[in-house]
Amino acid sequence: MAEATTTLDLADRTREADHPHSPVVRFAADQPLRLDAGVDFAPLQLAYQTYGTLDAERSNAVLICHALTGDQHVVNTHPVTGKPGWWETMVGPGRPIDTERYFVICPNVVGGCMGSSGPASTNPATRLPWGLDFPVITVRDMVRAQAMLLDHLGIDSLFAVAGGSMGGMQVLQWAASYPQRVFAALPIAAATRHSAQNIAFHEVGRQAVMADPDWRGGRYFAHGTNPRRGLAVARMGAHITYLSDAALHRKFGRRFQNRDNPTFSFDADFQVESYLRHQGITFVERFDANSYLYLTRAMDYFDLAGDYDGVVANGFRGTPTRFCVISFTSDWLFPTSESRAIVHALNAAGARVSFAEITTDKGHDAFLLDEPELFAIVRGFLEGAARARGLSA
């Protein structure tokens, strides 16, 4: 009986990875994804969502790059959680990234677990999930895979590429790797490299996953386990870095959770504890633990300067792309100084760049939240770019 439950569980958990609730492109074995790790990965599968209509000139496509724990479900109900899409404030009819005007594409990144090839996908050779046999991927690999998807969809040139955090890293990589294919780039709360502090946070998260006995050296599917506790702790720690001291105080302060006095135990006495536990528990229901390891690693490895003789500006020399860099005052994970470094590099390269720092106490996650100033800037930037590209209103 226990065996049957395990099998059901396994099928359930790998279903989105192999057969997602999204369109997929399955590339043949002779169309491998060339990885920075020196491996040709095949067969490659990419899952994606689209919104809006591609115009006759194929000139109004906007690529959205999702963040570490995001996915392709930008503005539709999530197939696993049943919750609204993660960027409904920004994308949709009449929104700053207006799906009545632009054709929006969002792929699940390589290494993700929502239908693009990743450690939870089935390895055709073993008919088991790849687990740690999946090659380590980089942000540049993600972008290369997205370029393959766009080739497949017949889209040569993107009107815009937009994304926050890890998505912003992909935006920068897109502009550096394929300058002729990107008309406008919107890296939000991003950086040209992952800082030592951020690598350190990621390492704590990975160690939490790997310290969970249920992780089983990454072969938890084969053992019928799931390192829920480890991944939940990783998520709890990371979630703190996405907020700010001010935001936590505003939301929770030192208030108790459903009680008037401390219990003198290690129960979740405080609201903030209860909130974090909830964040951890809900995260593990939709996210694969190994995928978390791979994607945090990809961010750690990101260092644009490393690809261009140590000078980021070299990656953007003569770029035709127009940039709008945005940061948030209370973001201590990707602070404004990181965005300023992007701007300085783009200035040095002679790029057409705008930069705005938005005042908010919501921390790194502000890019996902209701920030009217953010919306006004994105809308204005895209409208200016649309005029310059001759897109009809």
């Binding site: 002679g350 720092e357 204005g380």
Partner: protein, 219 residues
């Protein structure tokens, strides 16, 4: 501090050209060649950049105030949030044809360093500023014995963002010191109108309320 918004050009505001643009900005714009690459330092709400782009100029801006930056980006202008005193150093040599400092010089911490950076980053520099040698200002100190306040410069001494005032004569001396060549100079009178008569410098320094200088590097 850099924000042109904070520098209340009440009188010059009243003087607008045929297109509705401020005369002092039209004077600046007239100095810029069509198709040039321009950096407007302290670009405020982007009025000058818009004027320049309407004339086929490839314009960029730096603005200290967040409100100014956001207004510019919403208008589709390429403007970065930054500080002339610290951020000009990040620009490479000869990145622009013109670097413009419009009504901002007096609000910088290090006007000389800013001017030197402008002449390094751009082939030419355009600087406009309120003339502290104007007779009205001289008179206020002479007779009133107090720091002058005018409709153009309404701040009290303890709250003004304008920390480095100079006269036309002072600015000419700075240009000589940093090795800048004065290619063109225009003075605007109290009504923001161009003083057309070919007058000597002392006359401009006394009656010009604002000055606009077009400079280039002495090679």
């Amino acid at each position: 501090m850099l924000s042109r918004v904070k520098y209340d050009l009440t009188m010059a505001e009243a003087a607008r050209g045929p297109g509705g643009a401020r005369i002092d900005l039209l004077v600046v714009a007239a100095m810029v060649d069509h198709g040039a690459r321009v950096l407007d330092v302290g670009c405020g709400d982007g009025e000058l950049l818009r004027l320049l782009e309407s004339r086929g100029v490839d314009g960029r801006g730096i603005e200290l105030s967040r409100e100014g930056v956001n207004e510019c980006v919403v208008k589709g202008l390429a403007v970065v949030q930054g500080d002339a005193d610290t951020d000009l150093a990040a620009y490479p040599d000869d990145a622009f044809d013109y670097v413009i400092l419009s009504q901002t010089l007096q609000a910088t911490r290090q006007p000389r360093a800013v001017l030197e950076h402008m002449l390094r980053i751009g082939r030419r520099a355009i600087v406009s500023f309120p003339n502290f040698g104007h007779w009205n200002i001289r008179l206020q100190i002479l007779l009133g014995g107090q720091m002058p306040r005018t409709r153009n410069l309404p701040y009290a001494w303890y709250e003004t963002p304008n920390i480095h005032f100079c006269s036309i004569k002072d600015f000419r001396e700075l240009c000589l010191q940093v090795g800048a060549r004065m290619d063109q100079a225009v003075a605007l009178n109290a009504w923001g109108r161009q003083m057309r008569l070919k007058m000597p410098w002392w006359f401009w320094n006394l009656f010009g309320e604002q000055a606009v200088f077009l400079l280039s590097r002495r090679s």
